[in-house]
Symmetry: C2
Subunit: 302 residues, 2 copies
Amino acid sequence: VIRPLVQCVPNFSEGRDPKVVDDIAGAIARTTGVAVLGRTMDADHNRSVITFAGTPDAVAAAALAGVEKAVEHIDLRRHSGVHPRLGAADVIPFVPVRGVSLADCTALAHRVGEEIWRTLGVPVYFYEAAARQPGRERLENVRRGGFEGIRDAILHDPSRHPDIGGPELHPTAGASIVGARKFLIAFNVNLATTDLAIAKQIARTIRESSGGMRYVKALGLPLASRNQVQVSMNLTDFEQTPLHTVVDAVRREAARLGVQVAGTEIIGLLPRAVIESAAGFYLQFENFATDLVLENRFETLE
Amino acid sequence: VIRPLVQCVPNFSEGRDPKVVDDIAGAIARTTGVAVLGRTMDADHNRSVITFAGTPDAVAAAALAGVEKAVEHIDLRRHSGVHPRLGAADVIPFVPVRGVSLADCTALAHRVGEEIWRTLGVPVYFYEAAARQPGRERLENVRRGGFEGIRDAILHDPSRHPDIGGPELHPTAGASIVGARKFLIAFNVNLATTDLAIAKQIARTIRESSGGMRYVKALGLPLASRNQVQVSMNLTDFEQTPLHTVVDAVRREAARLGVQVAGTEIIGLLPRAVIESAAGFYLQFENFATDLVLENRFETLE
């Protein structure tokens, strides 16, 4: 059997002191069965994002270890930044990569949320697929007012109470917002023109919000340094709307407007299934299965 | 570092007694660090092929274990079949899959060849990239005359002497022909027509032997059960002439002749690099690297 793989992308409310972020990332990286895949810090946001992946149990343990370090180091009473935040460990999404479902990740989110309250005394809200109350699917609804606003609102408004623990927030670590969502692909198509109107027109044609393809968000942006323009996209469900379908749609619309696709860029990482299904689509395989790839077969048998 | 992977595809001169083939395959499969990927037996050829892969040292040990069982069970004096053969363990090619070069596989072939002679007393010829004498690159040259013919020729013709051991053949196990070659992709394109002349025309256009693309062998064949015809291909160097380039060429030539590609089929397995480069080509990635695939990154870090 192929080993199941979950990604976790926790956001922590520290973007200035590398020692704190090192300590959080170190606790995650030391957990057996996970690999840290990426890390960003932003001083203006005063926020960091650590991307890691592993088997479900390992990812749960690593997430908890990271939250523990964040609770130890971060005091929200002394934290400021332009990005809204509610907790020291602010947002903790679990993302299926392979061999696990969104429902599995929801169960994982609930388990980790219970542990965060039980072992660290930090209350927890659940969002997106893990939401337990209507209206909490959207992160911005849960986080409206931030640490200071929610701390006060809780005193007179039961609708703002956490899903687990509390009702008061942790005095220094606030609350954590734990959830499950599908894998997000960030992807740009660069166009061989300087005409921004064309990138904006293509973005409008393909994105869901203006009647295009479902699960596609798109913006037209200038790329001054390259003398090109770009259609910058997020794909929020690559199984329903595959990357190759979106690239084909952009290419067709660009051709209709008399412009060539200069190239494309992946931001971050892609699940292997995206690459295999694009190759299968293009090469017109009748019999493709993931175990026709020699290395996959070998991995399965390990 | 990514673990290096070698494939080995030994051909044994037994295609009728499943117990013998089970014993050979079992000896290979029990070797730590290899996985058996496939196995075929043919009663008319009286020959079996076992495909396995693993790290270079594990593959060398498994190949030797398989040859030992073949030498133990197979007596060529009592063997007949329509396929030419020189040895109980007849042909043993080592094939780079990833993280190893053809030169590495040549060194592996030489090492295993020395061991076959030293531990089993079976002389060895080297072929393809591992050939040590001019004219021995081609398997059919080395094997001309088969077990009986070469056994007699050796007595008066030093040019037929083995590269290692001998000069007489092993009385029951003959000699083994050990080599290194690139990965071979067997691939079919099915066409939405019953006109065999079109499949033959496309095969002629794309194959190296009639002036087409290098490293491509192609034949036009009927597929009576499907009411289609097929261009059946072998690609002998997918790094020099990629699969996606060949599929595009077949598609263009088919379109020129007014015919659609109905679908394609992989025979056997594909290295992951084939899939990744097809996806990268089609999606026009500017920044693709194998570590942008989440699972690959994870594997590397393990």
